[in-house]
């Protein structure tokens, strides 16, 4: 995982299952989303205690509407690859991190993937921020708590936060965080800052 180009390289073939301790009582999940090549798999790999795994979901959708040029109402099937990792938080609880494609054509999967998620980390590559607009809009529509995570590639331009916030059109309550997804420590700090934000927001909601 040395170069930005490896960001979406296939996760390694599983070497063999690494089981959770039998004391674990359940799992939570956080989605890591963003456009192709933004570094989702790299971030998941930096955080995961297991070699990131890849699984596939088949998405069947009636090809109605704009995509249906045939008029036959055929169904289309698309395969979506999800790379994911795991962190055993304590003897009772595990956290899964699911790299989730952000492009609009994968949205039929989102309801299922996002159900029960603590939140989502929306990765942005500032060299091509426009590719993240779709996914940011989707997260707002679905009311999934999220943070923007700028993946700091070596040639990532820097902008004042207000300029960035305005360019990405995200609300003031959405944190904008920075991280080199190849770096384990920075990736952990990003995840901790995000969960800390979720925690503080939940405390605010409890107040009358």
């Amino acid at each position: 995982m040395a170069s930005a180009n490896s960001a979406e390289a296939p996760a390694s073939r599983p070497s063999g299952p690494q089981y959770l301790p039998s004391s674990v009582q359940g799992a939570v999940k956080i989605l890591v989303t963003g456009p192709f090549g933004v570094g989702k798999t790299t971030l998941v790999g930096s955080l995961s205690e297991i070699t990131p795994l890849r699984t596939e979901e088949t998405m069947t959708a009636a090809s109605s509407g704009v995509d249906d040029l045939t008029g036959r109402g055929d169904k289309t099937t698309t395969t979506v690859a999800l790379d994911f990792g795991r962190i055993t938080l304590n003897s009772r609880l595990a956290l899964y991190l699911f790299g989730t494609p952000g492009q609009q054509r994968f949205w039929p999967l989102w309801d299922d993937l996002s159900r029960g998620a603590l939140g989502a980390i929306a990765m942005v590559d500032l060299r091509r921020p426009d590719e993240s607009f779709d996914v940011l809009g989707r997260l707002e529509e679905q009311r999934i708590p999220f943070a923007v995570a700028v993946n700091t590639f070596p040639d990532t331009p820097s902008y004042p936060e207000e300029e960035l916030r305005s360019a990405l059109d995200v609300l003031p309550e959405v944190p904008i965080l920075y991280c080199d997804a190849r770096d384990r420590r920075q990736s952990y700090d990003l995840l901790i800052d995000f969960v800390d934000h979720l925690h503080r927001s939940s405390l605010l909601e409890l107040q009358p």
Binding site: P14, G16, P17, Y19, L20, P21, S22, V24, Q25, G26, A27, V28, K29, L53, R54, T55, E56, E57, T58, T60, T79, L82, F84, R86, I87, L89, N90, L93, A94, L95, Y96, F98, D112, L113, R115, G116, L118, R185, Y188, D189, L191, I192, V195, D196, L198, H199, S202, L203, L206
Partner: protein, 121 residues
């Protein structure tokens, strides 16, 4: 059943799990029993344990998520949900549902996640 088989063949043409509450982060483990399998009379008529059911039981002698089962067996997530749902209905596996379902307040849960992450950092 050797070699690639189209997913709907593996699931007997079903594309939805019998239990709708199976999530990709639900945790699965085979329950002890004769070979980890239920006695034949427990099988509903429409469900026969196929090779993939047996592979799941073989893999899940300890806890793994539905997503991990799918990745290790090279099967689509939707297929694994159906098959794990079958095994759950049959009492051959235990399934631990995702955590944030009412049993813990989100604030308490988020605090637990935060403490865990800070210790691992």
């Amino acid at each position: 059943m050797n070699g690639p088989v189209r997913p709907y063949v593996i699931t007997g043409g079903r594309s939805r799990p019998t239990r709708t509450d199976l999530a990709i982060e639900s945790l699965v483990s085979a329950l002890p029993g004769p070979l980890g399998l239920p006695e034949p009379p427990a099988l509903p008529e429409h469900v026969l344990l196929n090779r993939e059911h047996r592979r799941i039981l073989g893999l899940c002698h300890s806890l793994l998520s539905v997503a991990e089962v799918a990745a290790h067996l090279g099967l689509p997530l939707g297929v694994v949900k159906v098959l794990v749902g079958d095994l759950w209905d049959l009492g051959a596996v235990q399934v631990l549902p995702p955590v944030p379902q009412a049993e813990r307040l989100p604030t308490t849960l988020l605090e637990e996640v935060l403490v865990g992450l800070r210790q691992l950092r």
